[in-house]
Symmetry: C2
Subunit: 340 residues, 2 copies
Amino acid sequence: MSNFSIGVDLGGTNLRIAAVDEHGQLLEKITLGTKVVRGKDHVIHEMTGAIQQLAAKHGHAGALQGMGIGVPGIIDIKTGMLRESPNLPGWANTNVRAEIEERLGTRVILENDANAAALGEKWLGAARDVEDMAMLTLGTGVGGGIVLAGRIFHGMTGMAGEFGHITVEAEGVPCPCGNRGCLEQYASATAVVRMAREAMTGGRGGALARAASSDSEFSAKAVYNLAIQGEEEARKIFGRVGRALGIGIADLVNALNLPMYVVGGGVSSAWEAFSPFIFEELRQRSMVYAATAPALLTDGHGASAQVEPGGPTKTIITRALLGSDAGLYGAARLPMMGNS
Amino acid sequence: MSNFSIGVDLGGTNLRIAAVDEHGQLLEKITLGTKVVRGKDHVIHEMTGAIQQLAAKHGHAGALQGMGIGVPGIIDIKTGMLRESPNLPGWANTNVRAEIEERLGTRVILENDANAAALGEKWLGAARDVEDMAMLTLGTGVGGGIVLAGRIFHGMTGMAGEFGHITVEAEGVPCPCGNRGCLEQYASATAVVRMAREAMTGGRGGALARAASSDSEFSAKAVYNLAIQGEEEARKIFGRVGRALGIGIADLVNALNLPMYVVGGGVSSAWEAFSPFIFEELRQRSMVYAATAPALLTDGHGASAQVEPGGPTKTIITRALLGSDAGLYGAARLPMMGNS
């Protein structure tokens, strides 16, 4: 018999609810489509129904420690207000936490999904052997999270870790956030597809055009498939992904000097294609990285094994290990951490 | 009778040693020129002599809590090794802490000078009412420091806070660190003078040329004097200073969501000339700033009075208050903080 908690990963596409025990063992996972078009009340109704179902089913075997819910967007951590959430139309500026708590009749912990993913990778993934880390999640957008002393670092109002909006090109591509040249405009799945379309429009990338016409769900994945087959334009696109990440991560290394930076999210499955460019930029752009890089060049695989017993002294950049479950595990971890 | 400690600010030009009591009251300050050309042993001999003098003199009135020493350069905080220090030729890759401790026969705390300045401003300056803050020090180079929960955040090896090497222009001016477009290349005193020379070489900036010929110590200060007199080229230079700072601070606000960012160092005396450009860039480039900016536009004066009783919720960017003493007070604060 071990204690457990319930984690929720509320995405724009999937709504996943899991019961996870205190050792990180998955007890049960429910995956539902997020029926965004049916509105917030409907989604919250489905979510709380699944939470209650898991709580009742597994409550006989252990004590329920609480619920953690990862949501996309900017959350005011003190009030529980969702400030902005492009993937959940109509949810912005509503008190999502209060609505869920009212429905469940109990407290829940609301967290930004990228923060939850960082905590998940720290608990059970690539960063399990370090206490301080940052994670970049490359999905539809680019999210981020910072973990210090094993806990999510929220900053003043819960908005720390917005790495997707670090400026990597001062006069670069306009971003809906109001800035130009945000990391998100070069390293998200959306950006990969946009860059592929730009290459086609520019008359280059014949193979990209063929992939586009043969695949109605023309996606970052299709561009990656071309890149690993050696298609030049597709490779160039992941070069830009890696260079932009290199600039952004170099800024973080110079500012924070953390032992580990984890790259996750859907686009990170193209790690082989873009990561060499990250390391190339980092070596040039970060004196702190140069002073702390592992002696052997590494693409980071098995990096967690490299953490020294006396505390880390090398900067490890590595890919995430938990895939799309990082946020779900992180959300489940939240109630286990006391006041988080 | 109150406890006191001794702080040292070891700069490339001045060596200052102060006895400061636990309330932040200056007991005595000794200012010596840093005779860099006479070598490290000589400088350390002068420093330890002054420390012993102050310790003996004020030890009758209170208990000496320890010594803190701020040095320019990258310090490995665990070992006490000075890794790089452009302003102290010949000091790099020596164990400065061990040499000082041997001479004094007691432990000392070695700290990066910009980290010490951040702690000084947190203790007695612009950030005294917040627990989390970052400081950028605009001097010969651009240094930085992060304070979290009232203490210097060192990162893994003591190198956190190297804000001078954040990339603000991906293909910008080469920096001796190996990167291009570092903040330091646009916002340091060195950069101000370089930009003034570039303006002259470009045939622009007649007034700059006259200032240069009339002032053998042609300095950032002379450029600032022209800017406040309305000289167009000089004003443009501080526009570039402010815009570069705006990009760098926007990155920090997006990544860290701290309640306060303090701008200090010699160049910060030109705050009126460059700060409007910081705020202009910030509003555009940081969604986190946009969500947390004070309701009234402010240049930050009196900002510490704006911190709310229930904890800060607004992002304040303000100039430092302690001038060139920030690092000295911060160094003196170090031994008062226990294991720092």
